[in-house]
C-alpha cells in the first residue's frame, strides 16, 4: 500500500520535472511543429515563467488539473482521456479475459506433461507468438481478413469501433461494435495468451515436484483429479498474480494495436499525441497509464491475500 503511494509520488514528480528540465525553450517543445493560438502561447509563457518551485506547488495541488489544453486538439486533456477510456476498457477487458482463459488452459495441458506432444507444439507456438510485434500481427490480420488477399474475402471492417452512422445504443449497434472488435481483440488475445501460457506452464511444472501430489496419487485419485483438485489451484495463484502484474505489458499492446485498427481508445490517443507531439496530452496519458498499472499491482497484492490462506491469516 505504502509502496504504491511512493511509486505514484515519483511518477507525479518525474512527470513534472521531465518536461521542465530540458535545455532550450520549453515553449518550442510544447508547440513543436504547430501553429498555435498566440493567446494560448502567451498564457503558457506566463505560466512557465513563474519560479520552478511555485509551478511545482501549483502542479502538486492538483496534478490532474492541467491548465494547459491539448496543443493539438485545443481541449482540456483529462476530458479527452475520459472519453477515450471506455473503448480501451472494452478492448483490453475482452482480450485479457479470453487470453487468460485460453492461456491458462494451454499452460495446464502443456505443464502437466512437459516434453509431451502437446507441450512441444504449444511451447513452440507460444514462443513464436511471444517473439511477434503485436502491431505486425494486427497488420497481417487486417491484410488477410479485412482487405483480403489470395482469394480470401475481406470480411471484417478495416478499423474503427463502429460503422459510420451506426446507432451504438441499439442491439444492432452492439453487434456492429462486436464485429469491429473481432480483429483487434484476436490480435491482442494471441499475443497475451502466449505470455500467460508460458507463466502457467512454468508454475505448474514447479508444482509437479511437490509431495502433496504424490499423496493425492497415493489416495487413489485419478490423474485428472490430482491435476484439477490439487495441482492447478496451487499453480493458479502465482499465475493470476502475474497476469495482474503484467498490465504494463498489456498497455504496450493497447497503444500499437489501437493505432493499427484505428480503435478510438487511449492507445490511439497516445499515437495521435505523439504525432504532434502534443506534450500536455502525453504527460496526462503517461500519468493515466502509470496510475492504472500501479492500481493493478495493488489489486494483485489484495487478490493474493484473498486467495492464499497462508497470507490471509
Amino acid at each position: 500500500m505504502l509502496r504504491a503511494f511512493v511509486t505514484l509520488a515519483f511518477v507525479i514528480i518525474f512527470n513534472f520535472f521531465l518536461f521542465r528540465m530540458l535545455p532550450g525553450d520549453p515553449i518550442g517543445l510544447y508547440a513543436r511543429g504547430r501553429n498555435q493560438d498566440p493567446e494560448q502561447l502567451v498564457e503558457l509563457r506566463r505560466a512557465l515563467n513563474k519560479p520552478l518551485l511555485e509551478q511545482f506547488l501549483t502542479y502538486l495541488r492538483n496534478p490532474f488539473d492541467s491548465t494547459i489544453d491539448s496543443t493539438r486538439f485545443s481541449r482540456p486533456v483529462w476530458e479527452m482521456i475520459g472519453e477515450r477510456v471506455w473503448p480501451t476498457l472494452l478492448l483490453l477487458g475482452t482480450a485479457i479475459l479470453l487470453a487468460s482463459l485460453i492461456g491458462i488452459w494451454v499452460g495446464i495441458r502443456a505443464g502437466w506433461k512437459p516434453g509431451g506432444r502437446f507441450d512441444r507444439m504449444s511451447t513452440g507456438t507460444t514462443l513464436i507468438l511471444y517473439s511477434m510485434p503485436e502491431f505486425w500481427l494486427g497488420m497481417m490480420l487486417l491484410i488477410v481478413f479485412s482487405v483480403g488477399v489470395f482469394g480470401i474475402p475481406g470480411m471484417f471492417p478495416v478499423g474503427g469501433i463502429a460503422s459510420p452512422g451506426a446507432d451504438t445504443s441499439s442491439p444492432m449497434g452492439w453487434l456492429n461494435v462486436l464485429w469491429h472488435l473481432v480483429l483487434p481483440c484476436t490480435t491482442l488475445v494471441l499475443i497475451y495468451l502466449a505470455d500467460y501460457a508460458l507463466v502457467m506452464r512454468a508454475s505448474l511444472i514447479d508444482e509437479r515436484k511437490q509431495e502433496y501430489l504424490t499423496l493425492a496419487r497415493a489416495k487413489g485419485l485419478r490423474d485428472t483429479s490430482v491435476r484439477k483438485r490439487h495441482a492447478v489451484p496451487n499453480a493458479l495463484l502465482p499465475t493470476v498474480t502475474l497476469i495482474f502484474l503484467s498490465l504494463g505489458f498489456v498497455v504496450t499492446g493497447a497503444i500499437t494495436v489501437e493505432t493499427v485498427f484505428s480503435w478510438p481508445g487511449l492507445g490511439l490517443l497516445t499515437y495521435e499525441a505523439l504525432r504532434g507531439p502534443d506534450i500536455p496530452l502525453l504527460q496526462a496519458i503517461f500519468l493515466m497509464f502509470s496510475i492504472a498499472v500501479i492500481a493493478a499491482n495493488l489489486l494483485a497484492e489484495l487478490l493474493y491475500v484473498i486467495f492464499d490462506p497462508r497470507v490471509r491469516s
Binding site: 499423496l215 493425492a216 487413489g220 495463484l237 490462506p309
Partner: protein
C-alpha cells in the same frame, strides 16, 4: 497370512548419467498385523522400496520383480484396480507433513477425500467420520476447518496419521514419520501411531500391518516386531527386533546400533561409535560387498564377492562372510 511380499524387487532410476540402481533384489515379507521396521542411512533405498508398494515411483524408475499385496502383484495391476487398492488397502504416512499436505485446502477436506473416493462410509457420515479420526489422533474435531499452516509440526503429522487411518487399510507405510519433529514430539507421535495401529486392526485377533522406516535403530527396536536393515539397496540383515538391536550380526548393523545407544546403557558410553565415511553413491557402488570400504573387519575376500543373505540363527538372516554362526 502374508500381507505383503517383496519378491526379488529391483528398482533403477534412469538418468542422463546412466542407470542408477536404488533397490537391488529385495525379498521381504510382512505378516498381517505385524510391524516391520526398515533401518538404514539416507540413500539406502528404503523410501524407494516403500514407494514401490503402491507404484508411486517417479517416471524415470524401472521396476523388476513382484510386490504382492494380499497375494496380488501391484506392479502389474491395471490402473483402475491399482487406484482402488491405493489408500483403501495400504496407506502412507509421509515424512514431511508440511509438504505432503495441500497448502490451500482445509485439512478436513483432505482427510475426507479418500473416504469419499473409496466410499468406506456413506456420504452423509463423512463429516462425522473426519471428526472421529481427528479425535482419535488427539485433535478437536473443529480443527477440520484449519489450513495446514495453522497447525504445529506435531499436529500436522497427527493429521497425516488420521488421514492414513481414514479407510482402515490393512497396511500402513510410515516413511520416517517423525524425523521433521522435535525430539519430545517425536516420541509422542510415534507412540500415538503404534498404539492406533495396534488398536484399530480390521479383525478381532489382528491389528493393522505396518512398515516403519527410520534411520534410528533404537526407535525401531522398541516399536517393531521385526527389523530389516538395508544398505546400498539390499537387505543385509533381518530378524526379531530386540534380537537385532541387542545382538547385531552384521558389522553395519553393529555400527547403527552403536550410533543410537539405549539411554542409560553404560557400555555404550565407552564403546567407539559412528561409522567412518559416507554411504556409497548408488550409481557407483564398490565391488564385492558394498559395505567393505567402511567395514572395520573387512577381509580381502569382501572386495571380490558379494556375500548372500543366509540364515545365521533361527529367524535371523545376515549377509556377511565374517558373521559368527
Amino acid at each position: 497370512m502374508t500381507l505383503l511380499q517383496f519378491r526379488d524387487l529391483w528398482v533403477d532410476y534412469s538418468s542422463s548419467a546412466g542407470n542408477v540402481p536404488a533397490v537391488r533384489g529385495v525379498t521381504l515379507d510382512v505378516a498381517a498385523g505385524e510391524t516391520l521396521g526398515i533401518a538404514g542411512e539416507s540413500g539406502c533405498g528404503k523410501t524407494t522400496l516403500a514407494s514401490a508398494v503402491l507404484r508411486l515411483l517417479p517416471e524415470n524408475a524401472q521396476v523388476r520383480g513382484e510386490v504382492l499385496l494380499d497375494g496380488v502383484d501391484t506392479l502389474t495391476m491395471k490402473w483402475g484396480r491399482l487406484r482402488a487398492v491405493r489408500w483403501s488397502q495400504a496407506a502412507i504416512v509421509f515424512q514431511g507433513a508440511l509438504h505432503a499436505l495441500n497448502p490451500v485446502q482445509r485439512i478436513g477436506d483432505q482427510i475426507a477425500e479418500p473416504i469419499r473416493l473409496h466410499q468406506t462410509v456413506p456420504d452423509k457420515q463423512i463429516g462425522a467420520r473426519v471428526g472421529e479420526l481427528l479425535t482419535q489422533v488427539g485433535l478437536p474435531a473443529s480443527r477440520a476447518k484449519s489450513y495446514p499452516h495453522q497447525l504445529s509440526g506435531g499436529q500436522r503429522q497427527r493429521v497425516m496419521i488420521a488421514m492414513a487411518l481414514a479407510c482402515k487399510p490393512a497396511l500402513i507405510i510410515a516413511d520416517e514419520p517423525t524425523t521433521a519433529l522435535d525430539v519430545m514430539v517425536q516420541a509422542q507421535v510415534l507412540d500415538l501411531l503404534t498404539g492406533l495401529v495396534r488398536d484399530l486392526g480390521t479383525g478381532p485377533d489382528r491389528g493393522m500391518g505396518m512398515i516403519l522406516i527410520s534411520h534410528d535403530l533404537g526407535v525401531l527396536g522398541t516399536t517393531c516386531d521385526r527389523i530389516a536393515v538395508m544398505y546400498a539397496g539390499q537387505i543385509i540383515e533381518s530378524g526379531p527386533a530386540l534380537e537385532i538391536f541387542d545382538n547385531p550380526k552384521h558389522p553395519y548393523t553393529r555400527a547403527l546400533a552403536a550410533a543410537f545407544p539405549r539411554i542409560g546403557d553404560p557400555a555404550a558410553r565407552y564403546a567407539p561409535t559412528g561409522l567412518p565415511g559416507d554411504p556409497p553413491y548408488p550409481g557407483d557402488l564398490p565391488t564385492g560387498c558394498a559395505f567393505h570400504p567402511r567395514c572395520p573387519i573387512a577381509a580381502p575376500a569382501c572386495k571380490l564377492g558379494a556375500p548372500a543373505l543366509i540364515e545365521v540363527a533361527p529367524h535371523r538372516t545376515a549377509a556377511c562372510y565374517k558373521v559368527d554362526q
